[in-house]
Amino acid sequence: MNPRMLAALVWKDIILFFKNRFFAFISIIGLVAYIAIYFTMPNTVDETLELAWFGPQLPGMVVSELQEDGLELRNYPSEEALQEAVLSGEDPVGVAMPQDFLEQLSRGDKPPVRIYFKTDVPDEYRAAYTLFLEELGFELTGNTLNIESEEVVLGPDMAGHQVPPRQRMLPLITVFILMIETWGLAALISAEIEAGTLRALLTTPLTIPGLFASKGFTGVFMAFTQVVVLLLITGGLRTEPLLVLTALLLGAFLVTGISFLIASVAGDMMSVMAWGMLALIVLAIPAFNLLLPGLTTDWIKILPSYYLVDIVYRVLNFGAGWSQASSGLLTLLAFGLVFFVLGAYALRRKLQ
């Protein structure tokens, strides 16, 4: 296939894509909306842990030590006021101590301490707070544990530099944009099969590999262009731009293969939407995992989008370089090739 043929086919596909008002609308409006969502998300993370407090005034040294550790005590005038604050959700946890708490401690008594939790505080958090208060009581009696502890952070120390929500959101938006283009390309191919125009194209000197090359080029171009625009506007290309662009290009290649598969199983626009939604949900899981850490386990590594999300996230937020991303890039390329070949094979069978 010569470049003139390729250009004619790609141009035709782009015109037809934008003639489809639905895809033209969700592509352009979607991109604008995603960028708006990104900028409305918080750019900082409040790392202070607040604790409702009713009890005696703690020694100044202890208070400042707690503040250094990111714990802010909110004093309440009565235990009832504290309970109300926890019940209303204003504070998730509250601690009530007797006013002579310190005296009781110094006498060697066991002062009662009540810890109030909101109903949805998980068990692990309850245990952690209880342990913290026992530790606090131990410290207030003037004792220290007979151990020497050292803090060692594996990987970049993010204390005070937590990844803000908008940066966690960016990989999810990237996957969304890529998948919307998957719908668009799959719908375009499906419509061409239905109308018989692909059959007309294939009775010219255009070969099936040539046709797939043109569709692949269109799909990669459309998807890649949009995510590049997104990252340009959101500043996602400030760190390791070449690495990020490579990951996005491979991601666009991957979703093009997926769109071939969808087009081969879908009969019309509605089934393209249904299959596309299924693919979107599955491929978005790794990105949701960044928003809600702990949502999944290692099994998400079998999802091809994991490698795209992981590379984009680590490069943008932790400054990962080529050496850290190379294995992910290779895996992404391998997934892209597998899906492209599978999609092209399935589509070829359908065309024949």
Binding site: R4, M5, L9, A195, L201, T203, P205
Partner: protein, 285 residues
Amino acid sequence: MIKAQNLFYSYSKTNQYQVNDVSFEVKDGEIFGFLGPNGAGKSTIVKMLTGQLKPKQGSASVLGLDVARKPKQVQAQVGICFEITNLYEDLSAAANLNLFARLFNIKDFDAEALLERVGLGGRGRDLVSSYSKGMKQRLMVARALLNRPQVLFLDEPTDGLDPVSSDAIRRIILEERQRGATVFLTTHDMLEADKLCDRVAFINQGQIAAIDTPHALKQKYGRRSLKAQVAGPEGRLELREIPLDDGNSAAAVTELFTQEKVITLHSEEATLEDIFIQITGRGLA
């Protein structure tokens, strides 16, 4: 120009054939009609001749090229007008033609001149979706002509069209023959085939039932007769038929005129449809 040898094709795994042992040749510059009812296997044969399907058995060659081995070389030199309208409806007529011209690597292509030729001059910038069925069909023919094909495959080109569009397409077919192209015309319109084709083949249930010139088929299978309307009792019209192919025709005509009052008299020869029914035992519907 076109040669089919023992073509066999089956869409099912049980080898229930769609096309079975079909052989024929089409000469250079000929208009060859391929006639048969829906589902007879016409389109499957055309697909094998144009490289869209590989025969399960047998072979096909077009312009001396084995179609199964060199489909792209064949497709570069033929024009195909499909039975279904498969145009880009959201593009203009000119954009449709320009796209295909690029695929055929035609430089300095003049879409407007070709549109003019099929009677669509001045409508090139209109979207195809705004065209009538007849206009779309003429555009399909134009698309099939843009590479100046040596062989033109036309699948039901006038099916369901108004008389003006049908005539326009028939005129183009004759012009193409004059240019030197070979035309392979698939149709179930026997009158059209009779008007246009140098030779016709009847296909029925995936097999060739007969192949010859329309005239020869009529001679071989048709019955000629005279049909007369005569005045009967109480002024009613009655029909009389005198076969012309037996030895008593002259005496029967004399008798008719001496004994009856002849109101009208017509000679009648068999149509291709009559012959098709006679040969295959079924109609074209």
